[in-house]
Symmetry: C2
Subunit: 338 residues, 2 copies
């Protein structure tokens, strides 16, 4: 079985965006109560939105299951207030649940959290519990910068975040560290903000002792870990200069990377420097880069093609494509047995 | 000849930091005029500060000349106001000039600019001219985020920056895109902020048409280009999706990377995906990572060791170690002939 740990519902029916547009429009009049209108999407519309996109790509590329979450760039936690974010998150998560119910062997859900700038992460606990306990989700996306590129929240190692970590540990679900769109014009979302957030989170983990406090807490750093594998010597050296434990001991029982790196040399480097136990197959499809590389004739984001060229042992291949995902997202077993 | 394009005076005599401490202390009383006391450093103190550090490492590692600038993390453009930054920059640049005068065959100067949050880059023109025309410097370090991790300045492709670019073009000097320390606790300086800035700048260049407006403007993106080479497929794909020209045409006549990547697999990737014409040897020494890698017994930042293991042709080796630096910093020729 091949599990893709990183897929977003970027192709949702238009009614979802219409809801969001109405929600944002209503913000202009603070006298109005927060908008939370009806979203009218049929099962057939959901099927149609997936059949020509994620499901088609699963079939074409030979992957089986996608760990699926709402469109990351649309989380936009910086828009509106905590009520805006809660309504929007619930709608997005409910739609993911419908996808997973319609295609239980193709999609397993991961939720968006109702984060909002300045609002403590404890506020997201209720929605996390709802998604895991009621909707059968197996993890969450945690945004280290709900301000959307202004970086006003404390580092992920700060006790500020501990309430949500306690709940993650209790529910035995991991978080993918994933920012959303940037409202700061210096940061292109998928080309800078996403990658920077990955790099930033890893360095924060080096600085702290988070996993002493939470030995079973688990994070996936997407996009191949941002800049981290390319600068693995820098991070090893910084940890050493800072008298931190070696990274394998300090972080690699708790921190994992996906394979969302869109060329073969990048994937080769990732597999060369990061232990295979810490790499989960992912493609971010349908996501950041949608084109076909004219030099290979393949989709940039068909990351399985790159992995397949590597001389992995059967054991390592199993870990990367399935075993690690089962270990990091233990609740997936119950979903896949249905 | 081996030219290291990226060295900082991180070992300056203590009197420099004492000046800075006094300058910062004086900021507490706004009624005081900006501090600009005397810095008493002898030539012998300068010699001593270099002999056991940069000069020793040049000899041990077999490099000849370092393109040398003030300590990047100490630029701290976010501290005080524009007068603070001007006084501090002039002192730091003057000290680099003394280094280059004492050791004209070992060091060539690059200046810090007196940037300050909210102050237009045109304000830095005078100091750039002074450093190039009077002190014989061959380039500058341009901070894309003078706020120190709050990212309040416009993107580098914004016309806001054009006055300093016009002067760079007129003087025929390049800029290394280099942030300073971070006053935002989310960003570790050398482990996150530096690398993020590199990645961010490159993505901004993709988004804009800066080099149509300035065909001879040149930037060095340090630290191996941040995350860019690791995600080269992502950047190629993003440019393609955004209908930008291919990166070789769009950026690689104007944008260069150094080799400050502290492990062999990273250097291998850099040389595999970035054309050798766009790579300048650099080590960032004495800089971000000072330790010895217990797995190799070598300094992490002895980047020449990594490059030397690669099967480069003599022509490519010349480009990487010398020719590209001469092309990107044309004023170096006059300095080295002295």
């Amino acid at each position: 079985m091949i599990i893709d740990c990183h897929g977003h519902y970027t192709t949702a029916p238009k009614a979802l965006q219409a809801y969001r547009d109405a929600q944002i429009a209503a913000l202009k009049d603070p006298a109005q109560p927060p908008y939370d209108g009806k979203i009218d999407i049929s099962d057939d519309q959901i099927r149609e939105s997936l059949e020509g996109a994620q499901l088609k790509l699963q079939r074409e590329r030979g992957t089986d299951v996608t760990i699926f979450s709402p469109r990351a760039s649309a989380m936009a936690h910086h828009i509106g207030d905590v009520r805006t974010s809660l309504n929007w998150s619930r709608r997005c998560n409910d739609l993911i649940h419908r996808v997973c119910t319609l295609y239980p062997s193709n999609f397993v859900g991961v939720c968006q959290l109702p984060q909002s700038p300045g609002v403590p992460p404890s506020n997201s606990i209720e929605e996390l519990e709802r998604c895991v306990n009621e909707l059968g989700f197996i993890g969450c996306n945690l945004n280290p910068d709900p301000s959307g590129g202004h970086w006003t929240a404390p580092p992920l190692i700060d006790k500020y975040w501990y309430p949500i970590y306690e709940k993650m540990v209790e529910l035995d679900v991991p978080a993918m560290v994933h920012v959303s769109s940037s409202c700061n014009p210096v940061f292109h979302a998928t080309g800078a903000h996403y990658i920077n957030a990955d790099t930033t989170a890893f360095m924060q983990f080096i600085q702290g002792d988070l996993f002493k406090d939470f030995p079973t807490l688990r994070f996936i750093i997407p996009h191949g870990g941002g800049a981290v594998p390319f600068h693995w010597g820098r991070y090893r050296g910084l940890a050493q200069d800072m008298k931190r434990p070696v990274l394998e001991e300090h972080l690699l029982k708790n921190v994992f990377f996906d394979t969302c790196v869109y060329h073969l040399p990048g994937i080769e480097l990732l597999l060369k420097v990061i232990p295979v136990d810490n790499i989960l197959f992912g493609s971010e499809m349908v996501g950041a880069v949608r084109g076909i590389d004219p030099r290979t004739g393949q989709y940039y984001d068909d990351t399985k093609k790159y992995v397949d060229t590597l001389p992995l042992s059967e054991g390592d291949r199993y870990k990367l494509f399935e075993g690690n995902a089962r270990r990091v997202y233990p609740r997936i077993a119950k979903r896949l047995s249905k």
